[in-house]
Symmetry: C2
Subunit: 479 residues, 2 copies
């Protein structure tokens, strides 16, 4: 991949004092919580946005909020950049370090502190994986709703940083809609508690602000999240269409009718073929586009909702309707969808875009996306959360061919600009990270960005927290 | 009522230049958009928290975002405080002016700009009343969900300022969950657009931060809100219990079971008697506590949900179960509930608290509330959104008796402290305003408040926007 995104120039004074910094950190942390040997640092050099990598100065893996606070206070005093890290599954490079940074990884803070079914909340440490909350609450009939495809690995802390979504967020909302409180550490080591088990909060909604702030306002060490009662049943149905346009209009009409299925996922022909070859999910391969629509409730409720949805699909000339007959079949359908990125990675390098558009623009943007990738002579596979308008074009390319890599990156930029111009935004759930940092000026006016940066400044006036990310390097306020 | 809450000392230089300021404003606004005669200013001296009043310097009633921006830019240049105002229905004094302030009222910005059923959103000017959005969208089968009791009068701009809730927010969420975008004017006249018709946003969630910021970060002039499809049917059922404790435990068990009715409203015996006498709603008067539980969906769905809910109520020794037989009966039930504050006002002066607690604390807090009001020899009526844990004790007192008024205020303070100590917060939906400003230190640590104030400072470094509100006067940063 072409290295077109610049990192901040590392601080010479930090690099020169590396040995001293490591020694100081080793006073603050037990030996098993500090990584500083070069070969042990390499695994932390990148995340799931593998196009860029930088080996950090050191990695702290604290076990307690107090240890997080001690490391941050130290780094703050000496002007050392800090890069927070959950499981390193960021698709936008949100956890990629820089050479002069101390990475603070939350992987050792992986305890579920409380399951409170009476108040329907769970309180967990930030390094707990997404899926393990549902696993723990499952026996009592509850689950944690946001379900990124990486949910087996990704952490709640990372989910909060990126305001992560997932296939089932159409009904249940994304992370911010399911987050009730956090304990977080500010850059100077101050510990704040925001929100709690109750509705809303007095004063400003700092909790909402922190959710999605990509580790730039502080590091979350504990979170209180909503638990949802499992539905009586859930049933996906597959709809095959000849064209993506038909599928796109069908989605808009389902949503426009007021029905809210728990998920509406879209795959175009390339995505269907890739996923079917990998997961044997039973997808029809003679269609141009596929929708997975899932409904929940009692058998009667599901029957009624599906009847309405099938009627709408028929108005859009649906070619194949396949209702799911068993739990095993349903699991296969979801396995196919959730392995889409991995399955694509088996056959080609790819970059995954995350633009989000109003539903009425879905068909138009799909059409234009094809035109853009055609123009560059590249293939594209579309597999995404259609009910939310949250698109994921996967642009396939050969990473060993620098010319093709540059084309892929430019095609991706054009697609994201297209989403913004269609009334949408650069990211639905993956975050801005380093990937989309330089496109922020296309979405936001100077006044918009200045206001966001002023808020960042109110938390971190030295710009030490995850500093290479989110905001274009030029035009930042002097710290 | 005892005047125990202090206002900021008005600026002598602003007061001395009153004539000049009015003349300057009259250059910026058409004559019908500027109120400056003393007798015409009096209606703006307070809001629904009538305990305090101050006649403002002038009132601007702009018709356009450009006019709002021009007035704010002018006030910013000359250091004149600004108090935003919707319909003046704030229960926490959020719209009470100060003598040296220009009030910016949004009542003339009352146009519905777009109903976009395809994307299920409405875009409206900030002075549009809450109910008029549902009225406009109703013929197409949609509505705007948050429903404060003042919904006939209160504006979307005010709802955004206070992150307003309502009886039906248990299922649909409060304002922040239904707000997709705003156009807003910063204190210096800069116009920002946050969010839009799409899911989520790139960069920081400034939209979430602005919602509930009580007019201190800017003035919202337009809003894009979610429209929800009307359910097939809705049916309230009344449950009468001997004691408040039984009703409180029943609420916690309904929610704990995972069922989410669209509303669970609670009334204790004094509230039942007051509302029944006024609204003839058909409430049973031989019970100690009443729940109104409303479910939505098809007839079959409602039957199934109600059967489960009735079974839970029976476990808590429910005395009366009355299912609603007609739309007229349902309307009467809701009219009774929504007129509770007005009906109380007919028989006594009162102050309404807005503390919110985790559901598991409901019975305990109700019991302690009685003990507190008993201690002061005052009567209390409880009528509130029980499913959310959002309590509204109405403390009855005689406003012409300064000793009793002081007791009522102190009892209210003790009740709010109780809510915080039980793991809750000072306000669920009415806002901090001026009423609860001096209690913020009980909820928040110095570090919490300092961080909130730093964020405020990032929007308004001169503290000109609604300056007497939200933060205790002592300990504010120098501007």
């Amino acid at each position: 991949m072409s290295q077109t995104i610049e990192f901040l120039k590392p601080s010479a004074s930090v690099l020169d004092n590396r040995a001293r910094i490591v020694a100081d950190l080793s006073d603050l942390l037990p030996p098993e919580c500090l990584v500083h040997e070069q070969r042990e640092l390499v695994p932390f050099e990148t995340d799931a946005f593998v196009s860029y990598c930088k080996v950090p100065l050191a990695v702290a893996l604290p076990k307690t909020t107090a240890q997080v606070a001690a490391v941050m206070k130290y780094c703050h005093r000496y002007g050392i950049p800090i890069v927070p890290r959950g499981a390193g599954t960021s698709l936008s490079g949100g956890a990629i370090p820089q050479e002069d940074a101390v990475v603070i990884g939350l992987s050792k803070m992986s305890q579920i502190l409380e399951l409170d079914f009476f108040n329907r909340v769970a309180t967990v440490q930030a390094g707990v994986t997404n899926l393990s909350i549902s696993d723990a609450a499952g026996p009592q009939g509850f689950f944690y709703a946001p379900d990124p495809s990486s949910q087996l690995a990704c952490t709640i802390g990372g989910n909060i940083g990126m305001n992560s979504g997932g296939a089932h967020c159409l009904k249940y909302g994304v992370t911010t809609n399911n987050l009730l409180g956090v304990k977080m550490v500010l850059v100077d080591g101050t510990v704040l508690e925001l929100g709690g088990k109750h509705l809303d909060a007095s004063g400003y909604d700092l909790l909402g602000l922190v959710c999605g702030s990509e580790g730039q306002l502080g590091i979350v060490t504990e979170a209180t999240v909503r638990l949802i009662a499992k539905p009586e049943g859930a049933r996906p149905v597959l709809f095959g269409f000849d064209t993506s346009e038909q599928a796109g209009s069908c989605v808009a009409d389902i949503i426009g009718s007021g029905i809210i299925p728990v998920a509406i996922e879209f795959m175009d022909k390339p995505a269907i073929e890739i996923c079917e070859a990998f997961a044997k999910a039973g997808y029809p391969t003679d269609v141009g586009a596929l929708l997975i629509v899932e409904v929940e409730g009692s058998e009667d409720e599901m029957d009624a909702m599906l009847a309405d949805i099938v009627a709408i699909a028929r108005q859009h000339a649906v070619k194949t309707v396949r209702e799911c007959q068993s739990a095993m079949e349903a699991a296969a359908i979801w396995k196919g969808r959730k392995s889409a990125f991995g399955a694509t990675g088996r056959i080609s390098d790819y970059i995954c875009m995350d633009g989000t558009v109003p539903l009425s623009q879905l068909s138009y943007v799909l059409q234009k996306t094809s035109e853009i990738t055609d123009h560059f002579g590249l293939r594209v596979a579309n597999v995404f959360h259609a009910g939310d308008g949250n698109m994921h074009p996967l642009i396939l390319f050969n990473a060993n061919d620098p010319v093709e890599a540059a084309k892929a990156e430019e095609a991706g930029n054009q697609i994201l600009r297209l989403c913004v111009d269609a009334g949408g935004c650069l990211t639905g759930e993956h975050g801005v990270g380093i990937e989309k940092r330089d496109l922020m000026r296309h979405q936001f006016s100077d006044a918009d960005l200045a206001q966001q940066m002023a808020v960042r400044f109110a938390f971190d006036d030295g710009w030490l927290l995850n500093p290479s990310k989110v905001f274009p390097l030029e035009g930042r306020p002097a710290s």
